[in-house]
């Protein structure tokens, strides 16, 4: 008995130039906001961009984008709708606003299913918003998506950085490319994370201050692109550090 789905995944993704998982060992560091702002910014800069919400048990990007009643089309696979100029995929099309109490094995299966049947078409970037931690979703992307790259988000907190350190060790030992580290929700100008990032041999991509306007911007693309968070992401994109 062979599961045929995994065989087709890299074929499905082959017309996508770069596949970036926005990830962190830690929850609540701003992965979803950074992933969404990054996707929108790349799209505004003229790229074709997809956004894939892989945080199945607590999806957030549909709230950040203010997705209303978009639904994929079925045609030789699943064709994700375009939402705010992004080719947007999320489990919420199927679980709606209800809880999806999935174990790791279910997360893994749902992820494989969506990678096997989603027709992304041609994209310059596919941005993947990851769940926290180094569990099934991270391990599956590493084993199944040949060209996966990680962009890691942390906060200045020791609690966040220590889990990021473990995640980096894991990725480096497997030679999985890490684009670099984004430090989010800075409130002071301590340089610890910057220093530690250098020690890990990684690029420090951006520091994003805590910005009270972020919360008001949830659900409103224009407001979101006006936040300091989005401006820092724009600088990152413009700097070609990606």
């Amino acid at each position: 008995m062979v599961d045929p789905r995994t065989t087709i995944i890299n074929e499905r993704l082959k017309r996508i130039s770069r596949i970036i998982a926005v990830s962190s060992g830690k929850g609540g560091v701003g992965k979803s906001l950074v992933a969404t702002a990054l996707a929108l910014t790349l799209s505004r800069s003229g790229c074709k961009v997809g956004l894939f919400d892989l945080d199945f048990t607590s999806p957030s990007t549909h709230l950040i984008l203010g997705v209303k009643d978009a639904q994929p089309k079925e045609d030789k696979g699943i064709i994700p709708p375009v939402v705010n100029s992004l080719t947007y995929m999320s489990l919420i099309y199927y679980s709606h606003d209800q809880a999806a109490p999935l174990r790791g094995i279910d997360t893994s299966n749902a992820l494989i299913e969506l990678l096997a049947v989603t027709q992304w078409g041609e994209l310059d970037f596919l941005i993947i918003d990851m769940p926290p931690g180094i569990g099934d979703a991270v391990l599956d992307l590493i084993r199944l998506v040949k060209r996966i790259e990680f962009l890691i988000v942390t906060t200045p907190s020791l609690l966040a950085f220590e889990t990021v350190r473990k995640q980096v060790a894991l990725l480096q030992s497997l030679k999985v490319p890490i684009i670099g580290i984004v430090e989010n929700m800075k409130m002071t100008n301590a340089a610890n994370v910057q220093d530690e990032t250098a020690k890990l041999g990684l690029k420090f991509l951006a520091e994003i201050p805590y910005d009270a306007k972020v919360e008001e911007a949830i659900g409103d693309e224009t407001k979101l692109l006006g936040t300091v968070l989005a401006k820092k992401i724009k600088q990152l994109v413009a700097s070609n550090a990606l």
Binding site: D75, G77, A100
Partner: protein, 132 residues
Amino acid sequence: MHEWALAEAVIAAAQQIAEEEKLKEVREVTIKVGELQGVEKDILQFALSQLKPANFKNANFHITRAKTTLKCRACGNTWLFNEKKLGKDTVEAIHFVPEVAHTYIKCPKCGSPDFEITEGRGIWLESIKGVR
């Protein structure tokens, strides 16, 4: 019609096995589709016939259907999935991603959504026969 994407996966996997087993020509592919995902046999059969590569031109695709057995991790109860008890939209959602069953189905004995899909989830390549 997303059966087409699944058919492509089946062909790709069968092709890979044919290469590993050094089959020059594939004659028979047996596929099991689980009731849970509700894959349409006719559509799948049609898609497979359209997607056949050259070394599959004389291949028959046998598609068998498997009942879906669910087993509750909380109370141990085992039961059969019955799509007639669900609304059309729910059946369609499960058709695309079988795991959302955990959002819509509860153990009939204890009400838990924490069940295992022990059999009949999606689509499986059961066997492949051919000549070297």
